[in-house]
């Protein structure tokens, strides 16, 4: 008979062992799935690791994927710490891309010193605004933010599609005959390309650097500021927060906006660092917003861990997509991410609870008092 008891103190060593262990467990499980469907598990994993981290230029390519994951991962971590479940990073990223590309196009003949910060700010503002909608709804009408932020993802995707495929909008390139028949967005000028930092042969994109700064800032906010303290109290107990005089509603909107801003930077980075054009199909295909949730969960909402996990999962993603083709199964990336998350969730149990095996069935005690008089 298995009995599960709450640990009195969090087992420190498990805090690192669990994510590591879940990666291994997920690798093992995915290996089984691969083997069952006629693929070579070891070979597949070797190719993944090679293409993700080891091969020539692999790390640089990994950083390309890791950058948006870092930002959406931080977005999720920022919101989830306060138990506001922002599932809308996907749509907030799209809006960030729309905002940044719009500004980038408008300022096309300005110097990079002006354009790049403008793009970042545009990403922040549009992402924050899109996230503020479910935030306000949650704060002032108590509407569940999971569904509302999620629904807005679809609306944001449709908005992008509309701007490029079904309208003659500012974002759309109408200059040539081909462009009018086969819709595409206006390309940004070279001065709107974000720089990257060369380090030991790896090109680290500006967006990633912004992300690292954001990670440090997020950690500081939560552990050292009044804002962060209040957010943690709210995340722990809304009743206690109300009792302590904390303005819960404003916080909810603020944290959602912060979360959206981070995702928005991710969108701006996609334009400025990598795509240089508003690319609805590509962005929707990539699902960075949802993947960010996986990153945050695996990193246990710790901003610095998010950086590392983003690189890891970025490598896997990158390898998975670049290997895609006749010989490499599509859908493996999502499966892998799901498995990692499942294992991490199961492992999470071990951090907080101890499992003991007892011989006799000892039935339960007082159950949680859900209903008392008055």
């Amino acid at each position: 008979m298995i009995r599960i008891e709450r640990r009195l103190t969090e087992a420190r060593w498990l805090v690192v062992a669990v994510p590591a262990g879940s990666l291994l467990a997920a690798a093992f499980l995915s290996g089984i799935i691969l083997a069952l469907t006629g693929h070579d598990p070891i070979g597949t994993w070797a190719r993944l690791l090679d293409r993700g981290f080891l091969a020539e230029g692999a790390m640089s390519a990994t950083f390309v994927t890791a950058t948006p994951l870092l930002l959406t991962g931080l977005a999720a971590a920022a919101a989830f710490r306060m138990q506001t479940w922002n599932i809308g990073a996907e749509g907030q990223l799209y809006l960030g891309a729309v905002g940044a590309s719009g500004i980038g196009i408008a300022l096309h003949d300005q110097s990079p010193v002006l354009i790049i910060p403008a793009m970042v700010i545009a990403g922040i503002v549009t992402g924050a605004a899109w996230a503020a909608i479910p935030g306000v709804l949650r704060a002032y009408t108590r509407t569940n933010e999971i569904i509302t932020s999620l629904m807005l993802n679809y609306v944001a995707g449709l908005l992008m599609t509309y701007l490029i495929f079904d309208s003659h909008s500012y974002w759309r390139d109408l200059s040539t005959f081909t462009a009018r028949v086969f819709p595409q967005g206006k390309y940004l000028s070279d001065s709107a390309s974000w720089p990257s930092l060369g380090l030991a042969g790896i090109a680290i994109p500006f967006g990633f650097l912004l992300g690292m700064v954001a990670a440090a800032a997020l950690w500081l906010i939560y552990s050292r500021t009044r804002f962060g303290f209040e957010a943690r109290v709210i995340g722990d107990s809304r009743a206690a927060a109300h009792y302590a005089g904390i303005r819960t509603r404003r916080k909810i909107v603020a944290v959602m906006a912060l979360s959206g801003a981070l995702a928005g930077i991710g969108g701006a980075s996609e334009i400025g660092d990598f795509r240089h054009v508003l690319d609805p199909r590509g962005l929707q295909q990539a699902s960075f917003g949802y993947a960010g949730i996986v990153v945050a969960a695996l990193a246990r909402l710790n901003p610095f861990a998010v950086v590392i996990v983003a690189i890891l999962l970025g490598g896997l993603s990158n390898a998975g997509f670049s290997l895609q083709g006749a010989t490499f199964p599509a859908g493996l990336v999502g499966t892998l991410q799901g498995l990692i998350l499942f294992c991490a969730l199961a492992g999470e149990l071990l951090v907080h609870y101890r499992i003991r095996f007892v011989r006799r069935a000892a039935p339960l005690a007082r159950a949680p008092e859900k209903f008392g008089a008055a």
């Binding site: 050292r224 500021t225 009044r226 722990d236 302590a244 303005r247 039935p363 209903f371």
Partner: protein
């Protein structure tokens, strides 16, 4: 108060095998020996009280009898036959029924649905629910035990007393021959309690057996035939109620002479500033219906005003209106001469109102945050804890160390999450935090409920000391003894209105009880 019939008369069957025999019952939990070789016997048709403080082992023993726990050692016999209960259901089928202190009822379900839930007997095995049959049975039971109840009513619509009737009916519906009631009068007025006792006597007269768990001496004297006293997991003694008195029982319970009333020390009643004034305050409750009507009340600096009343008569709303957690719909709340806008806890905090809520773990602390962080839960906004929006971790820590020492808060370190503390220590955290903010007014709601005698003593002492330093205290409590022990003046809250305010020396328990039931 009626005297119960002596054993051998009335319904008690002294010549048949005892209804319940528990021998050598021992039960251990990590770190505590809850029951230590307990021998306990109840005769058929008897009302037998199980008396003891919090933590004496009464709940454990009854949980063993109802199949929730299994004893580590010992045996149980029902009507002379050995039994064992692997699960609660087995105890129910053996005829043991428990009426819990915190009702186990599904709020949105009807009375009938609650009674029928999980029930299995020959007639009730079917897949389909048969509302009419069930209602018929409920009507029968209602009539027999004079407990009128509407089978179609939903639980949330019923008063506390009615809900308790449903709990009792639930147990009788399953044909329980042995009933265990756990602190059944904790939320009843004195008059409702008397009604309950009459019902219990009716039940006992049918040769059903009743075990009555309580820590209230007066009740035990009023209703039981015999009393068994537990202390620290052991049986101290079993006496016939007719042969004992409250003082003796208290001594057995606590192990020392208990002084029943604590005379208040402090400055003489001079002209003092008014710390709190409520003028014609009204407010709504959770469901939007009026909960407070036209409340007028004053608390002077250094005075303890007790608000007595059965839970559910507006106490929580009263506390929340004063402390800003709830908006009022009419009237004004004035703290040290300045009116409070209301609806804003932060405003109340800034005006020097401190609040110890009755829901400690749910409202008073953030359970996952550390003790140190909880100790600055209100002070974190200002220097020295924070400046310009930034926190100073060092000062949070020193503040915690200091307060933990002054208030003897038992935790291994300030970084421990608050939820790991015992009830008494959490209460000390609340007190430490609220009192260290130098409030002008303290609202304390059930400050000693669920605490053992030692902790209760300390908390009461702290309250008296705080009043002695000039803080006005509004003490809201369901425990009339506590109010009588501490308060200078006593207000009775019934149905959202103040029924009367009396000075301590003029207070009589009976008169207060009548006010608490709205009858005076």
């Amino acid at each position: 108060m009626k005297t119960p019939p002596p054993l051998g008369e009335g319904g008690v069957e002294a010549d048949k095998p005892p209804a319940v025999t528990m021998r050598g019952i021992t039960k251990r939990f990590p770190g505590v020996l809850a029951n230590d070789g307990i021998d306990f016997e109840v005769l058929r048709g008897e009302i037998h009280a199980l008396l003891g403080e919090n933590g004496a082992g009464k709940s454990t023993l009854s949980n063993i009898l109802t199949g929730l726990y299994r004893p580590d050692e010992g045996e149980i016999l029902l009507h002379g036959k050995p039994v064992s209960f692997p699960a609660p259901r087995d105890a129910i089928e053996a005829g043991v029924g428990m009426v819990h202190q915190h009702f186990r009822l599904a709020a949105s379900f009807t009375v009938a649905e609650n009674l029928v839930l999980g029930h299995r007997d020959a007639a009730d095995r079917g897949l389909l629910l048969e509302p009419r049959v069930v209602e018929g049975r409920i009507a029968d039971l209602s009539r027999r035990y004079r407990m009128p109840v509407n089978p179609r009513a939903r639980i949330w619509q019923l008063s506390v007393g009615e809900q308790q009737r449903v709990e009792i009916l639930k147990v009788l519906y399953r044909g329980a021959r042995i009933l265990i009631l756990d602190e059944p009068t904790s939320q009843l007025t004195p008059q409702e309690a008397e009604q309950l006792f009459q019902t219990l006597r009716l039940i006992a007269a049918e040769q059903r057996t009743i075990i009555f768990i309580s820590h209230k001496l007066e009740e035990v004297m009023a209703v039981s035939n015999r009393v068994t006293v537990l202390r620290r997991g052991k049986v101290i003694g079993t006496v016939m109620t007719g042969n004992t008195n409250t003082r003796e029982l208290a001594r057995m319970m606590v192990g020392r002479e208990v002084v029943f009333t604590k005379k208040k020390e402090g400055p003489a009643q001079a002209e003092r500033q008014v710390a709190l004034e409520l003028r014609r305050v009204s407010a709504n409750g959770e469901l939007g219906t009026p909960a407070l009507h036209d409340i007028n009340l004053q608390v002077h600096a250094g005075e303890i005003v007790g608000v007595a009343g059965v839970a559910g008569n507006g106490q929580r709303e009263l506390a929340e209106v004063i402390t800003g957690l709830r908006r009022r719909t009419a009237g004004s709340v004035i703290v040290t001469g300045r009116q409070i806008r209301g609806g804003d806890p932060l405003e109340a905090i800034r005006r020097g109102v401190a609040y110890i809520p009755d829901d400690r773990l749910g409202t008073g602390v953030a359970p996952s945050l550390s003790v140190a962080e909880n100790l600055v839960l209100k002070a974190f906004r200002r220097p020295p804890i924070s400046t310009q929006g930034l926190l100073h971790p060092g000062r949070i820590r020193t503040n915690a160390v200091d307060l933990m020492q002054r208030f003897s808060i038992g935790a291994s370190s300030p970084q421990v999450p608050a939820r790991q503390l015992s009830g008494g220590n959490i209460q000390k955290v609340l007190l430490a935090r609220e009192l260290s903010s130098r409030p002008l007014l303290l609202v304390a709601s059930s400050p000693t409920s669920g605490l053992d005698v030692g902790a209760t003593d300390i908390v009461r002492g702290l309250l008296l000391e705080t009043a002695g330093r000039g803080v006005g205290i509004l003490l809201i409590s369901e425990d009339l003894d506590e109010i009588l022990a501490l308060a200078d003046r006593i207000a009775v809250l019934y149905d959202g209105r103040i029924r009367g305010v009396v000075e301590r020396q003029d207070a009589h328990v009976e008169e207060l009880g009548l006010m608490m039931a709205g009858a005076a």
